[in-house]
Amino acid sequence: MATIPGTRRPRAVKGTRSRGIALHSVLIVGLLLSAFPFYWAVIMSTHTTSDIFSYPPKLLPGSHFLENARHLFDNIDFFGSMFNSLLVAGSVTFLVLFFDSLAAFVFAKFDFPGKNVLFALLMAIFMVPAQLAAIPQFVIMAKLGWIGTMTSLIVPAAANAFGIFWMRQYMKGAIHDELLDASRIDGASFLRQYWHVALPVVRPGLAFLGIFTFMGQWNDYAWPLIALTNPDNVTLQVALSQLNGTHGTTDYGMVMTGALLALVPLLIVFAVGARQIIGDLAKGAIR
C-alpha cells in the first residue's frame, strides 16, 4: 500500500498534499461521529434532568456527575450487578480458554477415529440460532434449579464452536510438529504436551479469544434478561435496562450516568487489547 503514494509523489507533490488533507478531514469527521455518543453520554450524565430538558441543548459537560451517581447507587445495586457481570464474564472466559484450546489442540494436531465427522458437526453448530434452543434451555434450567442464578449463564457458555475453530486454525500454523515429536520422544504425556508445548506458543491467539469472549459475555443481554428472574440479582446490562425502563423518562441524568459507568470496564479491556483484537478479527474474516 505504501508503494502507491511513493510512486506518485515525484509527479505531483502539491496535489498529493491537498488530497491528503481532504482525506484526513473526511476521516476525522468519521472519527468524531464514532466518538460522539460517548461525549453525549458524558454531557448528559453531568447535568440534572431539568437541565437536560432545557433548550438549547447543553453541549459542554456540567457539574452534577456525583449527584447523578449517588442517585444511581441509591436506585440499583450497581456494584452488585457489576460484580455479577465480572463473575460471569470472568468464569466464562477462563472456562472457554481452557476447554476450547484443549479441544482445538486435539483437532489441530492429532488423528483419531471419527475426527472429521465430529469437526463437521462442530461447524454445523455455528449455524443454529440461539432462539431455537431458548425455550427448552429455559425449561431444562428451571428443572435444574439454575434459573435466577449466574450458573444459568456460565455453564452453557463454557465452551463454544467459534473458539475451538479459531484456536484450531491458530494452532495448525503456530505449533510445529517437530516440537511435539521431540516432547513425545522425551516421554511427555498428552496433558504435558498441551500445557508445556502448545500453550506457550499460542498465547497471542489465547489473548484474542479471551478478550473477545470477555467482551461478548459482558455485553450479553437477551438470555440474561430471561434467565435472571430475580430482579435484585442480575448482571449489569439487565440492571441498566431495568433502570431505563422504570426511570428512563423521569431521571435521565441518572440513567445516562449508569450507561456511561457500565462502559468503563469494557473500554479499559478494549484499550489494553485493541491491537490484538482489531488485527485478529480482520485476519479471521479474510482467511
Binding site: 427448552p136 457500565a262 474474516a285
Partner: protein
C-alpha cells in the same frame, strides 16, 4: 470390525498394528475424546436436545408449566396467517435494509480512504472500532436520548435549522430510522476494518498495471478493487444478514420506555417489533411456549432463505 482383516494377515504386523488392537486403540485415544468432550456434552445438553425438543414443543399447546396438549401442525398453520408475525418480518427486513446498505457503502468508502491514508492509520482503526465493543444496552440508552422527542439532539438540531420536530420513537418510520442509525453507528467501523484487511491483500502490482494503462480512480475501483473484494463483501453481507435479522437488544432497549403493553412490544404501533422480539413476547410475556417454538422455527427459515438469496445475488454478479 477393523480387527477382522488384521487377524487374517498377522504377518503384516507394523502396518496393521493400530487396527489389530482395537481395545488398546480405544485406550490410546480416550484422552483425545476426553479433551474434546466438554464442548460436545454442553452442546448435547444445551444445543442438540433443546433444538429437537423445541420441534416437539412447537407441535403442542403448552404454557411451560402445565401438561402439554397435542396440536399437530395447527400452530404452524396459524403462523402462516398470523399478520403480527408477518408484520414483524416486514419490520425486521426494513430495519435490516435501512441499516445494512448505508453501512456497507460507508464502510467500503472508509476502508478505501484508510487504505490510502498513510499516517495515523492505527488511531483511526482504534476509534472506528470502538462503537462495536460497547454494550448494546448502554448504546441504546444513549441513542434513545439523542432521538428523544422533547430534549433529543436530533430534534434540537432540526429546530435550530427551522425544520419540523419529529416524534422519532413514536412514529413507524421514525422508530425504524432510529434503530437502523444505531446499528449503522455500531457496525460501520467494524466492517470498514474488515474491508481494509481485504484491501491490503490486493497486490500493489495490479494497481500499478492499471495506472500504466491509464485507468482513473473510479475505473480502478470498479475493475480491480470491487472484484477482488467479492469474498470479503460476501462475508460481511452474510454476517450482517444473520445478525441483523435476529436483532433484539436494539429495539427492546430503545423502545422499552415508549412501549405501553409489553417491553417486547416494539414501541407504538409495534413498528419496531422485530421477529425475535415477537418470539420473546409470545413465549415469555404470553407464556405461550408452544406457539413461541413455532415462531422460532419460522424465524430460522426466514433467516436461512435470506442468507441463500444474499449468497446467490453476490455470487451471480461474480459470474457476469
Amino acid at each position: 470390525m477393523a480387527t477382522v482383516p488384521a487377524l487374517q494377515k498377522p504377518t503384516a504386523a507394523p502396518a496393521s498394528a493400530p487396527a489389530a488392537r482395537t481395545r488398546r486403540g480405544r485406550r490410546k485415544y480416550w484422552h483425545l475424546y476426553a479433551a474434546i468432550s466438554p464442548f460436545y456434552l454442553l452442546f448435547l445438553g444445551f444445543g442438540l436436545i433443546p433444538v429437537g425438543f423445541s420441534l416437539y414443543v412447537s407441535l403442542h399447546r403448552w404454557d411451560g408449566l402445565g401438561p402439554m396438549e397435542w396440536a399437530g401442525l395447527s400452530q404452524y398453520r396459524y403462523l402462516l396467517g398470523d399478520s403480527d408475525f408477518w408484520g414483524s418480518v416486514g419490520n425486521t427486513v426494513v430495519i435490516w435494509a435501512l441499516a445494512t446498505f448505508p453501512m456497507v457503502l460507508l464502510a467500503m468508502v472508509t476502508a478505501v480512504m484508510l487504505n490510502s491514508a498513510v499516517r495515523f492509520k492505527n488511531v483511526y482503526r482504534f476509534a472506528y472500532f470502538l462503537p462495536n465493543v460497547t454494550s448494546v444496552v448502554a448504546v441504546a440508552i444513549i441513542f434513545g436520548s439523542v432521538f428523544s422527542t422533547n430534549f433529543g439532539l436530533v430534534n434540537a438540531l432540526s429546530q435550530a435549522v427551522g425544520l419540523d420536530q419529529v416524534a422519532w420513537l413514536n412514529t413507524p418510520w421514525g422508530i425504524k430510522v432510529a434503530i437502523a442509525t444505531l446499528m449503522t453507528w455500531q457496525w460501520t467501523g467494524y466492517n470498514a476494518i474488515i474491508f481494509l484487511a481485504g484491501l491490503q491483500t490486493i497486490p500493489g502490482e495490479l494497481y500499478e498495471a492499471a495506472r500504466m494503462d491509464g485507468a482513473g480512480p473510479v475505473q480502478t475501483f470498479f475493475r480491480i478493487t470491487l472484484p477482488m473484494m467479492r469474498p470479503v463483501l460476501l462475508f460481511v453481507l452474510v454476517v450482517s444478514t444473520v445478525t441483523g435479522l435476529q436483532s433484539f437488544s436494539e429495539p427492546q432497549v430503545l423502545l422499552q420506555t415508549t412501549a405501553n403493553d409489553s417491553t417486547f412490544s416494539g414501541g407504538p404501533g409495534h413498528a419496531g417489533r422485530t421477529m425475535v422480539l415477537y418470539f420473546f413476547q409470545q413465549t415469555f410475556d404470553n407464556n405461550d411456549f408452544g406457539y413461541g417454538a413455532a415462531v422460532a422455527w419460522g424465524i430460522f427459515l426466514v433467516v436461512i432463505l435470506f442468507s441463500i438469496v444474499n449468497w446467490r445475488l453476490v455470487q451471480r454478479r461474480g459470474e457476469d
